[in-house]
Symmetry: C2
Subunit: 648 residues, 2 copies
């Protein structure tokens, strides 16, 4: 059983004030992250999402991990009632850990004694299930259960330890480096290092996650054995150390060593979690070849295997990436967790390389995958985020967990419920993705109303107030709220989509700016203002001609938002599949809503659907059809929906 | 254990000479089937396929059911070595039964003492595993195994009995009504009737199959309890008698009663097998409402959920039908067994209603799904029949069963190996799908070189010799080889695709004919000849505009054959995805090969694949690209392939 003995903490390479409030703290990266204590979101889209998370998502998740017995599994372990009383799938422990991580970030963002007490209560129940040698799992290791580490392919044992460690890292980085949770995670990690270390079993977990977690635990503690263990797990993978499964070793990225891989492949969440850990490792070991390999695979994946929403992973059967350019909108999997993992990965690459393309994908994915998953009330969730719904579907029952994945509408909980807890921890730490610093200044990557504060290494002080209604409006005002005679550089990202009409106003002078990074170096005074104006007129977007599934279609985007047509907005049609858009008439804003000019297809006579002549596809009657931001869809009852609209 | 006691056979309603050699013998149908003794295929596409089946497929299947231990399971049962020595999945018994069915038809087509001896040897091994009360399964019912009938959702227990019965029906209808196999099947069926009868358990099997088998066993034996049991199984289904599974009750058609269903849905093989049994039941009970319901669902399915190849079932995850018009060519499942089941169903509907549309789909499916599955040497098979292969893929290893489904190329055997045995029994009985009779004559539905002979009820004799190279050539010569003063009607199907240019020549007079049935009634004399000439110029085919996945594409067909482009025929390209066809230039025949005029797309620069302007998609350099019949693809090593070609 866990005792309250104190495990002494070493000072890690990044275990200083800079680490506070940061999920990721690389030692060598080009950009340094700001933390949740340095960036405060005060309103707007993301501020409201953080409030929703606090108010609705977190209590909802707490309720369901208790109700399903997934938290109770730890009590059952303590009381010797396993496996008889175990509930949930093999990875259910990880949902409790992700809840703890969410609580930890949230407690730092806005302290609250009641939430603090609930956090401690969960930690105590978890800790009480840990065995004397540090082993912690409610699923393996007891009589009647599989032996420890006996199903590395699909058992998720090390994956669960990884999430335990990430929760502990969050707790350590929010002012509690000696917390019970941290000690539990260290003891569990120490055992992992013993069992799988240089003299131990030469294998890996079927679901990557522990790689990144161990690097971060090294950063928190300075214990090199954690870093070394992460390195072993990264380097072993790809050498066919796991058993073959029906989906092939590609499913868990054990098909090809990381340096030889061409592109992300297999199970999408596994692929992006693994790549995130590889970037973490490359940073700490100075392994530029490894970093370059991941960056190359990222570029190939973004160019050929990523949805317009930023979503990754097309296949339902194995929740996996499909081949290049195989991106069906109607059978899109685009798992919420793959979106979150993609944000985690792109953030690490951004820190490492500074390329604004990474921040572009983060923005796209946050607005169009992460924002799409929760319902407006924060109490139901999409597990998958399809880009096209053909049938009205039904509202899932609220009293039982839904079979995973492709429920018609958002469901309160799933039998595999990784996404709600992943959302909760991501939203709680969201401010950390907004800005970075380097030796000469501060970089704003995402635009949200709030404040940014950072002291540079030489003592120059930077304080910013960001005022914006973005993405409802394209104007972003950045007011300097600090005085310093010494100049520093303020950098702003101009999104890749803003290729036409963006301007920057500094000191009363306005100039056009294009996609990429714009930097202004000067001695900033309190009250100085920089205004970035981004072009918010809605626009048509065309797919690469190799994407078969959306040939002949256009999408409509506005700013960072992908838009969609929903049948509840189209009188007289249950299906939006009959609409055909006129690409000669650009989308425009009418009464505050984006509309496109459409006709309706006249369906051919029923019968064999393949004929000698092409069918005529529209009438000459046109109408304005309103669109909604994709992330808002399915909040008004069952509907059909499309992002990609066939053109006449 | 099985004894050699004789179970007395009743004379069934159709247990007469007419039943001989016929897989399906309805009592009331509009058209009466001819049997494998009445129709002989003497060469050409189908004659060669039957030879291939005899020469290669059957020995190959015999080898693999032995090698995998699936046949040995029956020995292990007899010797008390189960479950320790059991091999294969829960439905492996059925592969042995399908092999027996194939052997039974084949022995009738071309008797052979060696094959007969092998048939008997297998039957003896199967029979020895039957328990005293008739129960027969190597998977359930012993200590250490699941209890009998304990997993009706996924256990396939009644499904296996169904295939046992179909094998027995084949044996009974080929001159051996008292065969040991028939007695074994009757005893197994009797037990099913006891356990699941009117006073028994109110449920069904998760995989339909026994419904059709029991109707046919009734037709063979006259035992009404078999018919009544089939009726119970059909009527119970759809009332949620099975437990919910992850894929939903739609997966096994237990979501909606048959009379209320709109379309085939769920697992495609299950759906079409069930519908076949429903037509059989409707025939015997005179239930026109049931028949009309199935026919209505068939029409909807053919109009909205069927590939141009005739393939059914788009989804990989649950091997299921997708929504209307969701027919992705690159993620097409189109399972071989679903194609076979679709032929079985359409044949029953054709007999019941006489509509040539059913024979049209049979032709399309036989040439473009059933013919596609086996390799040219008959020793490897496609489990799924995709319409688009994006990557070259690899040749599956020949020494181990492949993980099911989507192997890159045809594989010798699968862990789930339903398709090779299903092909073997279908090809052995293929002649039965060629022709029918009614009180006034004979109908030819499929065109293959061979002979047809049938005496009509009033004694008029019909003998035909069909000479044709179809589908290599469009001329079908039907020579009458019998004399009778009394007139009778010869009917010929003009395929639905032959809408332009078909002619019929009778008595030296040629006239244009269109799709449907053409009938000639006269007093035929020996030597009279009818010549049907079908238009064989290759043609473009356009998809319904609601099929999103192939928007902007054309296919090329020639006669009943769907054509495809294969990368091995396109110098300098590993992928055929770069080709763009000029739809203004019709496909044409050059040096015996069909070619289309194509340009090659110039891929955009790598990067984010969604842009503000449409990419240009071709150069102005055109070339003739040769096509192959789809069913011949992947016989020349790894290649990429498309049926649907994007148009410039």
């Amino acid at each position: 059983m866990m005792t309250s003995e104190t495990v002494p903490l070493c000072e890690g390479p990044a275990h200083d004030a800079l680490a506070a409030g940061r999920p990721v703290v690389p030692s060598r990266a080009r950009l340094k992250p700001l933390g949740t204590r340095d960036v405060r979101l005060t309103g707007g889209h993301w501020g409201e999402f953080q409030d929703l998370n606090r108010r609705a998502v977190l209590p909802h998740v707490e309720h369901w991990v208790e109700r399903t017995g997934w938290l109770g599994n730890f009590d059952a372990a303590r009381e010797g009632r396993l496996p008889a009383d175990r509930h949930g799938r093999e990875f259910s422990d990880s949902e409790v850990y992700k809840l703890l991580e969410a609580m930890a970030w949230e407690l730092d963002r806005a302290p609250d004694p009641a939430l603090e007490a609930r956090f401690h209560a969960v930690v105590e129940r978890v800790a009480a299930a840990q065995e004397p040698d540090g082993y912690l799992s409610t699923r393996f290791g007891r009589p009647g259960q599989g032996a420890r580490w006996s199903d590395l392919e699909m058992g998720h044992e090390l994956y669960c330890v990884g999430h335990l460690v990430q929760a502990a890292v969050a707790r350590a980085r929010t002012g509690h480096p000696d917390d019970l949770l941290v000690r539990v995670a260290r003891r569990a990690s120490d055992l992992v290092c013993e069992v799988f270390g240089p003299a131990g079993r030469v294998t890996v977990d079927g679901h990557p996650e522990i790689e990144s977690a161990l690097v971060e635990l090294y950063r928190v503690t300075g214990e090199r054995r954690y870093l070394e263990q992460a390195r072993l797990f990264v380097e072993r993978r790809g050498h066919r150390v796991l058993d073959e499964i029906e989906f092939g070793r590609e499913y868990f990225q054990d098909d090809v060593p990381v340096r030889e891989a061409r592109v992300f492949r297999g199970h999408a969440v596994r692929a992006v979690y693994l790549a995130a850990g590889q970037v973490d490792l490359a940073d700490e070991t100075g392994d530029d070849v490894l970093l370059a390999a991941v960056a190359r695979q990222w570029r190939h994946t973004v160019a050929t295997r990523t949805y317009i929403t930023g979503g990754m992973g097309a296949r339902h059967q194995d929740e996996a990436f499909a081949e290049d350019f195989a991106l069906p909108p109607d059978r899109a999997y685009s798992e919420t967790c793959a979106g979150i993992g993609s944000v985690m990965l792109a953030w690490r690459l951004l820190l490492a390389e500074g390329d604004p393309a990474y921040a572009d994908l983060i923005e796209r994915t946050l607005f169009n995958v992460v924002s799409t998953a929760p319902s407006a009330d924060g109490r139901s969730f999409f597990y998958t985020n399809t880009l096209h719904r053909r049938e009205l579907g039904a509202v899932p029952a609220g009293d039982e967990p839904s079979p995973r994945a492709s429920s018609s509408l958002r469901a309160p909980w799933f039998e595999v419920s990784c996404c709600p807890t992943n959302l909760a921890r991501t939203l709680a730490g969201l401010a950390a993705y907004v800005a970075t610093s380097d030796d000469d200044g501060v970089q704003l990557h995402q635009y949200a109303a709030g404040t940014v504060g950072q002291d540079l290494p030489d003592g120059r002080s930077v304080r910013l107030v960001v005022t914006t209604e973005y993405p409802a409006d394209g104007e972003v005002r950045v007011r300097v709220d600090s005085d310093d005679d010494r100049p520093w550089t303020l950098s702003l990202r101009v999104p890749g989509w803003a290729s036409d009409g963006a301007t920057l106003t500094v000191g009363g002078t306005t100039r056009p700016v294009g996609p990429g990074t714009v930097a202004e170096r000067r001695s900033w005074r309190c009250g100085d203002e920089v205004v970035l104006r981004l072009p918010m007129q809605p626009r048509f977007t065309h797919p690469d001609p190799r994407i078969d599934a959306v040939r002949g279609c256009v999408a409509v985007e506005r700013g960072p938002l992908v838009l969609a047509v929903e049948s509840v907005d189209v009188p007289g049609l249950d299906t939006v599949d009959h609409l055909r858009v006129d690409p000669a008439v650009p989308p425009r804003v009418v009464d505050g809503r984006v509309v496109v000019r459409c006709t309706r297809v006249v369906p051919p006579e029923p019968g064999w659907p393949y004929r000698g002549e092409p069918a005529s596809v529209g009438t000459d009657e046109f109408e304005d059809v309103p669109l909604v931001p994709y992330h808002e869809w399915a909040n008004r009852g069952p509907s059909t929906m499309r992002i990609w609209l066939p053109a006449v």
